[in-house]
Assembly symmetry: C2
Homo-oligomer: 546 residues x 2
């Protein structure tokens, strides 16, 4: 059949979502940052000029454009402008060190690097040459003011001035074209470049519209870093419904409370740590948001305490789970009839599960080493594996790692979980975190769930420590609520009343927990401390901590 007759076969792309919104909602507010406000017509023009400047700068199909910035409007705009010239966005984690950023710039071969002046020192201190000899653009931030010495290059305003305003149109030739490369956090080993496609981004965005109930009245607050899995595709889904983006340079609880109220925020996303920070903030005391705000959280299940606190605040929590390799969320704990009526404890229990795939995310299984499904008994552990349109296309220029991750035709998450009888998955551990004590598997997450039930405990991380008899045993690192001071033995006894004794921590240490930029606790740092100078046991053929 001639191409003219394939009227029905149009590539899926986030560009068509923006194109529609510019057509339908030109006068609605698109983006708010400080005292700057853009309508969709204005923000569309900004994106169009951005795209025009990219083209003028020689950026074309497949070229990589790197971005190192907090959640400023230009980074949001890049999620469309870079795609419009069929190039590839590389949004880099702003907490990385110079060596890591340098590695990513070289590995991605970025031709253009856009940098917030505050982060310029990270780039300036890269200890090796950048092979692609990229151009730099300084993305000044009028809200934050100029807080650092810019790199050698124009400001964004200078760079984009006078560029053609390209029309926003889905003219993508192949829906499997790469939209972006998101580098894994690479707690150990080199970061890997996860490739997203126009098709995957589109389907994820359209699925999110329905699952998170986004519409033209939605106002989305950017607490989640945009560099984190392209903000779980929310740049595309919120724009697709004609909603409003409320930008936020840093997670700052009083600012969050203020913006929620002044901008009528309806949605935001963040790790439980971010929610805890908000709940503990004096600015949130006595506040109850009505109508409630929808908040999606991932990285750790919401504890009963967290759920109760969120309810008081007027926040409706959705628990979801995924990885960089799955465009962010792949599953969520879809609520069943009657769950809303459970008490906080009961709700926390059902909601602690990572759940079932999104409509557009297809499949998830829990399998043993031979890719057989584990028994759906909430007991037998296996690795969580996924397929579907929101699994990455592969690792950029790393066919070996791609083949390893996709062995057997499924993406291997490296997460250990169980399957409940009702088909909901629940994580038990990262493959590298699980503790094998006297031959028994111990899920550190299960132990953590118990420890945090102690009324004095704010947060907790459990890792293995060496043990003469059992090989390894659990140790808990605990941060306490303000003013609390339980003894180590009190917390251990609390666990022994609630858990099989072999699973209970044999030691407790009270500390400030080390965290990543996205609020995840860095267990590997704690484990390294315990195992310094020793060799950990092997699990599943893979050296732990490697």
């Amino acid at each position: 059949m001639s191409d003219e007759l394939r009227v029905y076969d149009k590539p899926l792309s986030p560009l068509s979502l923006l194109e529609r919104t510019l057509h339908v909602f030109p006068q609605q507010t698109a983006c708010v940052y400080g005292d700057q406000r853009w309508s969709w017509a204005e923000f569309g023009a900004l994106i169009g000029r951005f795209a025009g400047a990219l083209r003028r700068a020689g950026i074309g199909p497949g070229d990589r454009v790197a971005f190192l910035a907090p959640n400023v409007p230009e980074l949001l705009a890049a999620h469309f402008a870079v795609l419009q010239v069929h190039a590839v966005l590389v949004a880099i984690n702003t907490r990385l060190k110079s060596e890591e950023v340098g590695y990513i710039l070289n590995h991605s071969g970025a031709k253009l690097v856009m940098v917030d002046p505050e982060l310029a020192p990270i780039v300036r201190d890269i200890p090796h040459p950048l092979d692609a000899n990229p151009a730099f653009v300084n993305v000044e931030d009028p809200v934050a003011g100029m807080t650092g010495t810019p790199l050698d290059g124009p400001t964004y305003a200078e760079w984009s001035a006078g560029a053609d305003v390209l029309p926003i149109v889905n003219d993508i030739d192949d829906e499997f074209r790469t939209t972006s490369i998101n580098y894994t956090s690479g707690t150990t080993g080199r970061p890997k470049g996860v490739m997203y496609t126009h098709r995957g981004a589109y389907l994820n965005a359209v699925g999110a519209m329905s699952s998170h109930r986004l519409d033209r009245e939605s106002a989305f607050l950017w607490t989640l870093p945009l560099f984190h899995c392209n903000g779980w595709c929310f740049p595309w889904s919120v724009s697709g419904v004609g909603g409003k983006h409320v930008m936020l340079r840093a997670v700052d609880p009083p600012k969050i409370v203020e913006l929620i109220q002044s901008e009528n925020v309806t949605h935001f996303n963040g790790a439980p740590t971010v929610l805890l920070m908000l709940a503990e903030s004096p600015a949130a005391q006595g506040i109850h948001f009505d109508p409630p705000i929808r908040v999606a959280t991932g990285g750790a299940p919401p504890s009963p305490t967290l759920l109760a606190t969120m309810e008081e605040l007027g926040i409706k929590v959705t628990h979801l789970y995924g990885l960089t390799e799955t465009y962010g969320p792949h599953t969520f704990c879809e609520m069943q009839e009657g769950w809303d009526q459970l008490d906080t404890e009961g709700r926390a229990q059902v909601m602690s599960r990572q759940g079932v795939p999104f409509h557009t995310a297809a499949y998830v299984r829990v399998v043993d080493d031979r890719m057989n499904d584990v028994a759906p008994n909430a007991e037998e552990m296996g690795e969580v594996v996924m397929t579907g349109n929101n699994v990455m296309k592969g690792y950029f220029e790393d066919p070996e790692a791609t083949a390893e991750a996709f062995r057997g035709g499924w993406f291997h998450s490296g997460d250990i979980g169980v399957m409940h009888p009702d088909g909901y998955i629940e994580l038990r551990d990262r493959k590298k975190d699980i503790i094998i004590s006297g031959g028994e598997n111990i899920s550190t997450i299960e132990v953590e769930h118990t420890v945090v039930k102690h009324p004095d405990v704010l947060e907790c991380a459990v890792v293995s420590m060496p043990h003469e008899k059992w090989g390894e045993v659990p140790k808990a690192f605990v941060s306490l609520r303000e003013g609390a001071s339980p003894t180590e033995q009190e917390v251990i006894d609390f666990c022994r009343e609630r858990l099989a004794h072999y699973k209970c921590p044999k030691a407790i240490e009270f500390i400030d927990l080390p965290k990543t930029s996205t609020g995840k606790i860095q267990k590997f740092k704690l484990r390294e401390k315990e195992w310094a100078g020793r060799t950990e046991r092997i699990y599943g053929g893979q050296a732990k901590g490697s």
Copy 2:
């Protein structure tokens, strides 16, 4: 790249929506009919056995399975069972005559025909042999009872007994595989077989979830015939969210009111005629549904009277537009900020427009004969054309009609409309309905809008009638509210106060308007009456009424 590594490239199919719901919501109610109720686990088993029986009957990939039945559970189930064996569903309009049904059975080459006993006479009276020599299955209806002599063949129960229950799984090899063929109403000329694909049906369903705010608490009442564009893809979207299907054999206002209340219906779809029928019914008097029910309506814009009446009833109306060739709805009148606050008259005015494409429906234009866009001034008329993933794959075994419909790479709707300055389309007429009077184009829809504003008028249809001087002039056929009896001249004068005089009807006739099975007024019958024995003018190179 080897197939194993294309983990991310999974064909889109409505089957994956059902598969997910069977996994996530097995205990929720799937379907209600009379005093029969099925959970999703039960309905999934029914579908699986249906698929097993199809396979046992020798139905395989690409084979056509025809269905002639009202909105019974088996026809809903067929929307998945037929797809599961990779066959093609042909759901036939139940109001067609024997000759027409015979034509469709022969043209589609259906190997199996499933018929409701009440409709058996239509099949029995087909005046010519059926070339494919199909097998027949009698789909008995325990709710309606056996109202006709069945055809020579087993009942559905007998036919499906003992068949394997096939697993519901998206194992589609190619997302452009045909799901169904829906024959156009073919008011004149032969019906054409519109082919839908798995990809198109999936995207349409996922788009509808978000646009119509469907979720697991949705209960959808089947007032819209399932044979009408596969029920606008609602079999797939409602099932995809785990909602409840409330089946309905015939549009019966007291029954509708009763089911809305007993089943907590949240959504239904229907032509304005169906809504009027409901509003005028004694059963609806004094009723106010709370929370309001979402109703999508198409075929004609909702009048101010209709909107006011629906508001009293507690019904929130969405106006949408499409054709069989676009899986049903392609555009809808997306509400803008502030429109909710307009008075009924103002709201009816903005809502009379057919609007903008759905998120998943991509493009719509209004073009002249050379495919140039008309000026977006709400004045200049042109043909409405579409592209995108919810345009049909083509007409079954009719490459010439397909090429004609897709000329220039766009689907030609045959509808005449204007583009408003804000990018919303508004229909002016069917290409074949427009009146050319003394060289001026007159939109019969515009005239109808004026006539129905008269307080005595319930519904109205305007067609051309011959005129010595002007060639043709408008004539209005009007059905009146109960008890009203205006004169012809009163209605004409009412129009002359509101419309350019050349657009006003030159004659009024008070009658019961002839309608199709889906509630559309059959203008061609009225026009035929006026033009009996004469030749109509030519418009746009196409003989009107041909």
